[in-house]
Amino acid sequence: MSDARLAPALASRATPEARLAAFALLTVLLAIGAFLLLPVGGWPLLLVGLLFWASAWGLTSSLAALSPASKALDRLLSIAIPALFGVTILVLWELIVRGLNVPPVLLPPPSAIGSEIADSTHLLWADLVQTFLKAVIAGYVLGCGAGFLTAILIDRSPFLKRGLLPIGNLVSALPIIGVAPIMVMWFGFDWPSKAAVVVVMVFFPMLVNTVAGLNAASAMERDLMRTYAASHWQSLLKLRLPAAMPFIFNALKINATLALIGAIVAEFFGTPIVGMGFRISAEIGRMNTPMVWAEIAVAALVGSLSYGLIALLERRATFWHPSIRKG
């Protein structure tokens, strides 16, 4: 595999480092040039913008063609390349929106979104507390806990397992988000109703995955536990729960995204005047799109951070699993 990846780098005559440096310099210069040309506009801007894009693409691909020997450098590259791609997209977005005079209602430039985030930190923070720290976390913990406990309980009865698993699988595919109006009616406008939506949304993925995970230990290992005369709980704690961990973490990861979506969408159905979903629908009504984008940026950040946190925990908990264990 590494030979195949090395080939394009060797094929070009210039050393990869030299090409890289040239592309980097060119890209930065073109970006500065494009921003200087913004007041001029017209075809010079278009030309420089296109050149910037081509040069950034060249830089990205020459970075991607590298296969560094050291592991640390490789990891750095695997972060740097997508980061560079992201920055390129942001610069192009800014250039296109400002160069073509796209109305900010349609698509605000990233700079406007950035300054909106800086200006209304307290609002964004209040929304985050309401939606994420209260509704999402409470619902996530309750829902995942309930799903997990139910799975442990029905694990003792093969009959219930056979009955609940197909239903759980079916329910996981249903648009459960539709229970949001019902929950808002039952639990009122404040965060408990959103937490309830989250509970319902995350329960079934957790149930199905835990039940599947508890069956993951092989017959050989189970027989071994039996020769040790291990009780049900002993073999559950020492063998089957650890073996189920990859499945449980899979559910935790799926649920992290589902929970945030559930809480935000539930706020479209009624909420006090704070919360991410409320802010999005209210600011859309006022056509204040930069604020909507700011809220979405916060949601994206929180979503990927919590996902990352769970992935980190997974590495710790399932260090023995082949997908984590390297080499």
Partner: protein, 301 residues
């Protein structure tokens, strides 16, 4: 062994299989539902009855199961409402549930088809370009952790403001939601042939396009169908949420919103049942296509 007649075998297959357990669980759910309906509707209904005079417990229970605006409608009320709005009303009238289901279904399907096609295209691009793989793929994976659905209202309103309305904005959201799972699944699937097989194609001096068409594409089909099941469910959710923000007048999402505005719980539940049936049927249809396609490849089910 004792008697193993057809009846015994049938019983064993039913109990040992999934039919009886699933039916038992369903029955239990319905039972709990009826009990919950009594509990949740008790207060409002008994108050109503008390105002009219004396009442017995049986009357009160009957009242909780046939309330006008129940906190939790009993299952038969939902079934009756679905029946009434599906079969007793002309499908073209806005009072018909089929009409709303069709509005949602059309944008779901349009979005799903575009999203899947886009997902496959991007997966092929990622397979053949190392730059795309290294730069775009991490973003696609990260974007799965982002609550994309939060963008839905903005897309609808913004597209409306430039004059694009109706089916397309909703289909756009469905496209957006369905293309991620397909891309990720397809990249995995297209890479699933092992070294031996790709080497074989190499010895045939197959072009990259031929390898794609004759080896990688067939090999990716199981992955494609698995992710298409996820995608079609996501695209239905996208279409429903897309109907929420603008006060849309048609579609299952609009039904949900109207029901929540006017406290019509039975209407909300019937829209939910319809959406669930649709999701089930859509996933089942993809499953059928999967079986047909895999059977042609010679897989044994």
């Amino acid at each position: 062994m004792g008697y193993t007649g057809p009846l015994r075998r049938l019983t064993r297959r039913l109990v040992g299989g999934r039919t009886v357990p699933v039916l038992t669980v369903c029955l239990a759910i319905v039972l709990v539902w009826y009990l919950a309906a009594i509990g949740l509707n008790w207060q409002t209904e008994t108050q109503k009855l008390a105002r009219a005079g004396d009442y017995t417990v049986t009357e009160a229970i009957a009242a909780t199961w046939s309330a006008q605006r129940p906190v939790l409608p009993a299952p038969h009320q939902i079934v009756a409402e679905v029946w009434k709005t599906v079969f007793d009303v002309r499908p073209t009238s806005p009072r018909s549930l089929l009409f709303h289901a069709w509005v949602t279904l059309s944008s779901t399907l349009l979005g799903f088809v575009i999203g899947s096609a886009l997902g496959i295209l991007i997966a092929v691009g990622i397979l053949h370009s190392r730059t795309l793989d290294k730069s775009l793929m991490p973003w696609i994976i990260t974007s799965q952790t982002i609550p994309i659905l939060a963008i839905a209202p903005m897309i609808i309103v913004v597209l409306n403001s430039i004059g694009v309305s109706g089916l397309l904005p909703k289909a756009f959201i469905s496209t957006y939601l369905s293309f991620f799972p397909v891309t990720v699944g397809m990249v995995k699937g297209l890479r699933s042939p092992d070294r031996m097989l790709t080497d074989l194609m190499h010895t045939y001096s197959a072009t990259p396009f031929q390898t794609l068409l004759k080896l990688r594409f067939p090999a990716s089909l199981p992955f494609l169908f698995t992710s298409m099941k996820v995608a079609v469910a996501a695209s239905l959710v996208g279409a429903i949420v897309g109907e929420l923000p603008t006060g849309a007048v048609a579609g299952l999402g609009a039904r949900l919103l109207a029901g929540s505005y006017y406290g019509q719980t039975v209407q909300i539940w019937s829209a939910l049942v319809m959406a669930s049936v649709m999701a089930g049927v859509l996933v089942w249809l993809v499953g059928l296509a999967e079986q047909a396609a895999l059977k042609r490849q010679g897989a044994r089910s």
